[in-house]
């Protein structure tokens, strides 16, 4: 069963966050639970970044489709869990670097000023709310780049 579980995990990891094409939902920390039974039935538990996120249904459908396509898989169930609450700590360093490079999005870790993905200087907040539920808008104090900051 380990083989099937790995294949299912890989299928889930192939799903990108619609906000970040090329960035896996697994790398963003959305996958919380994966159960694969001996019969090949799969239950996937995901946690949303923000509860009002309009992409939730789309992500669930994408995961359902990806897992369904794995050989040997039976019934598939994908659910959004109410707990735990997602935090930016669930995003690993490599993924932080990737979304900084590709999307000029910094991840707020701790209470310090988020760093500009372009030049590394501190950024200051321009607007607490931004283009999506999980991002505020900052500006770099050195290069003046507009930096979106992912927060939790």
């Amino acid at each position: 069963m380990i083989g099937l579980e790995l294949a299912v995990h890989a299928a889930i990891a192939s799903v990108d966050d619609p906000e970040y094409p090329g960035v896996s939902i697994v790398d963003l920390g959305l996958l919380e639970r994966l159960d694969v039974t001996d019969a090949g039935d799969v239950r996937v538990g995901l946690i949303p970044t923000f509860s009002g996120c309009p992409a939730l249904a789309m992500i669930r459908d994408d995961v359902l489709e990806a897992v369904d396509a794995v050989d040997g898989v039976g019934e598939v169930e994908v659910e959004w869990l109410r707990s735990p609450v997602w935090t930016v700590d669930r995003i690993g360093p490599e993924t932080r670097a990737l979304i900084g490079r590709e999307f000029t999005v910094a991840v707020r870790i701790g209470t310090g000023a988020p760093e500009c993905p372009r030049c590394g200087a501190p950024t200051t907040e321009e607007s607490m709310f931004g283009p999506s539920r999980c991002r505020s808008v900052n500006r770099c104090t050195a290069c003046a780049e507009t930096v979106e900051v992912m927060r939790s």
Partner: protein, 247 residues
């Protein structure tokens, strides 16, 4: 996942959900027309959060079936909604809309604190998620309030807006159908009315004494205000274009 609660407790939870639902809609109607961009983004995001919180509660009551959740959210008769008149109020004055956001989210914090240790464990989960997002709402309101109160004209307008909303705000704290049973069974730690004094202290610490007036006649939230019907008509506008359509 559906929670197994008594009909009375269900009414109590519907009051929270309906307030969130209508508040979310009211905020959403400001998209594109707020006085400046930051507020546009803020009302858009905050409104989405409120709708998301309402959806979490409707889901607890209606189960995972999307059609059942939609039906609970949009298809009840006027008497069966449990919204308070504060969130039903129509306004085209952004100062009033902003003041309502501040009053509502401050009051909402008290309400969620009451269910954060609920005997219904699913409510504890929802409360934790809601609070994580609500703190941004309060932070936003507080920051903007700092700016408004520092300017004499803005301060006057803001205080006047709060005075308009004060009686309706009392209505949010009035007992709702099912509340007594929710408290007796530990679903809520206490009645919302018990939080009133602490709420008033928070508000008046920022803007001074408020004339709260008398609460509207809501009959435990079974009565809708005049603004409810047109609001619901706007919310249902697309659904009503073709009732037989599948979504």
């Amino acid at each position: 996942m559906t929670v197994d609660v008594t009909p009375a407790v269900r009414e109590f939870l519907l009051a929270i959900a309906d307030d969130k639902h209508l508040m979310g809609q009211q905020h959403a109607e400001w998209i594109g027309v707020t006085p400046f961009l930051e507020e546009d983004l803020a009302f858009c995001s905050i409104g989405q959060d409120e709708l998301g919180h309402a959806a979490l509660l409707y889901e607890l009551l209606a189960g995972d079936d999307d059609a059942a959740i939609d039906s609970l959210a949009y298809d009840r008769g006027a008497d069966d909604y449990r919204s308070c008149h504060l969130v039903e109020l129509a306004t085209d004055d952004w100062t009033v809309a902003f003041a309502r956001h501040w009053l509502f989210d401050t009051a909402d914090q008290h309400r969620w604190a009451l269910v954060s240790q609920s005997t219904v464990s699913e409510l504890q989960d929802v409360a934790a998620r809601v609070e994580r997002e609500e703190r941004f709402h309060r932070l936003h309101a507080d920051n903007m309030l700092d700016v408004l109160l520092a300017d004499a004209t803005a301060r006057d307008r803001f205080v006047t807006a709060v005075a308009v909303l004060a009686p309706l705000t009392q209505g949010l704290f009035e007992p709702v159908a099912g509340e007594a049973e929710a408290v007796a069974t530990g679903v809520a730690a206490g009645p919302l009315a018990a939080e009133w004094d602490a709420f008033v202290a928070t508000i008046e610490a920022r803007i001074g004494a408020v004339e709260w007036g008398s609460a509207p006649s809501q009959a435990q939230r079974t009565l809708r205000s005049d603004d409810w019907r047109p609001l619901m008509a706007r919310m249902r506008e697309v659904i009503d274009l073709d009732l037989s359509a599948t979504w």
